[in-house]
């Protein structure tokens, strides 16, 4: 695997096929945890680690796994990995573990992870599966952080509050821009609004890019097929 194809895999996960924005996978933890920037970042990193390792393990063991039993094996691998990650968090990042609570064990149910195992890791080399896991994990983290930041900013009028949960130190209120905010953003509906905004921005940017690309094409190729 070359460096350029490694980078390309990362780009696919981060933007083109972002698990949350495009594939719409793993939305349950995404909507539930993102009440603040730091929660989004913490869960994002934990998911990234699980995704990278599970992709590597699935890819490395693919030649011994019969097609019929692949799903139970993915579940086994992912569940054990998440248990290990949870124990490691409890041992080395106890305060973050407390803050994320039930959502670390629930990484098991994040369908983005099984989806990558099935769609990508079971058909590709270990290295490109690792790249895919990191790319998809980073893409998911980016979305969690973005949604968390929007909700925290609108809902509480602050940003980067309680970063001590991840990095230690004294509890900090973060950058307080306004006293209080629009409460709805913190409540569950706010998660849907913030996600919708993120998806809309992504689609708008993609459309702009496509239009720009079309404009530079020769006239003969510019015709596009329209259906429906």
């Amino acid at each position: 695997m070359t460096t350029s194809s490694f980078i390309e895999r990362l780009q696919v996960g981060l933007w083109k096929d972002n698990p949350g924005l495009v594939q719409m996978l793993g939305l349950c933890p995404l909507l539930a945890v993102t009440t603040s920037f730091v929660n989004g970042l913490g869960l994002g990193i934990a998911t990234l680690i699980v995704l990278a390792f599970s992709n590597v393990l699935v890819s490395a063991s693919k030649r011994w796994i019969r097609h019929e039993i692949r799903i139970p094996i993915y579940v086994l691998i992912i569940a054990s990995l998440v248990t290990c990650i949870e124990l490691i968090f409890e041992a080395w990042f106890p305060s973050l573990d407390r803050s994320l609570g039930i959502f670390i064990p629930l990484i098991v149910t994040n369908c983005a992870i099984v989806a990558r195992a099935e769609v990508f890791a079971s058909r590709n080399t270990v290295l490109s599966s690792l790249a895919d896991g990191i790319g998809m994990g980073a893409g998911f983290t980016m979305l969690l952080v973005a949604v968390g930041a929007i909700r925290e900013l609108v809902g509480q009028g602050s940003i980067l509050s309680r970063m001590d949960l991840l990095f230690g130190g004294e509890p900090s209120p973060g950058l307080v821009l306004a006293d209080g905010g629009w409460l709805l953003a913190i409540l569950p509906p706010g998660a849907f609004f913030a996600l919708a905004i993120a998806v809309a921005i992504k689609n708008a940017l993609d459309r702009k890019k496509n239009l720009a690309r079309r404009a530079t094409m020769p006239r003969s190729l510019r015709q596009t097929k329209r259906t429906g």
């Binding site: 019969r66 019929e68 039993i69 290990c84 124990l87 409890e90 041992a91 106890p94 407390r98």
Partner: protein
């Protein structure tokens, strides 16, 4: 048939490998996690003691009260007894306030030997972020209004929010949460006043063995 057995063997093998992986991680992290929990407990107890001078090892002299008990809540109530030398100086109560806005709220209340509140902290809650969660000491100074108050200051009737005719501030937009917490505090103080001598003479509960 042969293939079924083969699949079963693969599954068993991978299951064994995964179990070994989890077991190894468990062994490697076990001591650290136990130490973290102990440290977390001690650290979370200290703020509720205010400036009381005491000896370390607060969590060694714990009383565990299984329900039914006269303290608030339907869960186990914990009482940590705090000594300076052989002299009892304060008690810490971990009790559950019922009827929060989203379920029960676990609180930690420190009470000096004479019945004065040394500090109140919220251990666990599921109140609304941005509203009820301002009972957390890191989000607002609401919990500090109880410091140095006692059952005579104000009287039992005054131990409720101002909206209900009491002496304590509510939180704007959330009255259910503070009401639940203050009720639990009042009930704990009443219990302490009635049972102080029993609390300090009872042998410690050892439920970790």
């Amino acid at each position: 048939m042969n293939e079924v057995i083969k699949s079963g063997m693969t599954l068993a093998l991978i299951g064994a490998i995964c179990a070994a992986m989890v077991a190894t991680t468990h062994v490697l992290t076990r001591d650290r996690i136990a130490a973290n929990e102990q440290a977390w407990l001690e650290k979370s107890l200290e703020p509720a003691l205010g400036d009381v001078v005491f000896d370390g090892g607060v969590s060694d002299a714990t009383l565990v009260m299984h329900p039914p008990h006269e303290l608030p809540g339907a869960d186990d109530a914990l009482i940590y007894r705090v000594y300076a030398g052989a002299q009892p100086v304060a008690a810490l109560f971990a009790v559950t306030a019922r009827d929060g806005f989203a379920g029960s709220i676990r609180i930690l209340l420190g009470v000096e030997y004479d019945g004065t509140v040394t500090g109140l902290r919220i251990l666990q809650h599921r109140e609304t972020p941005g509203l009820g969660d301002r009972i957390e000491s890191s989000r607002s100074d609401w919990v500090f209004q109880f410091d140095a108050r006692s059952l005579g200051d104000p009287d039992v009737d005054g131990w409720t929010i101002k909206r209900d005719g009491g002496q304590f501030d509510q939180i704007s937009g959330a009255s259910v949460t503070p009401r639940a917490v203050i009720t639990a505090v009042r009930e704990t103080l009443v219990y302490f006043e009635a049972h102080r001598d029993d609390i300090f003479s009872a042998p410690a509960t050892r439920d970790d063995e």
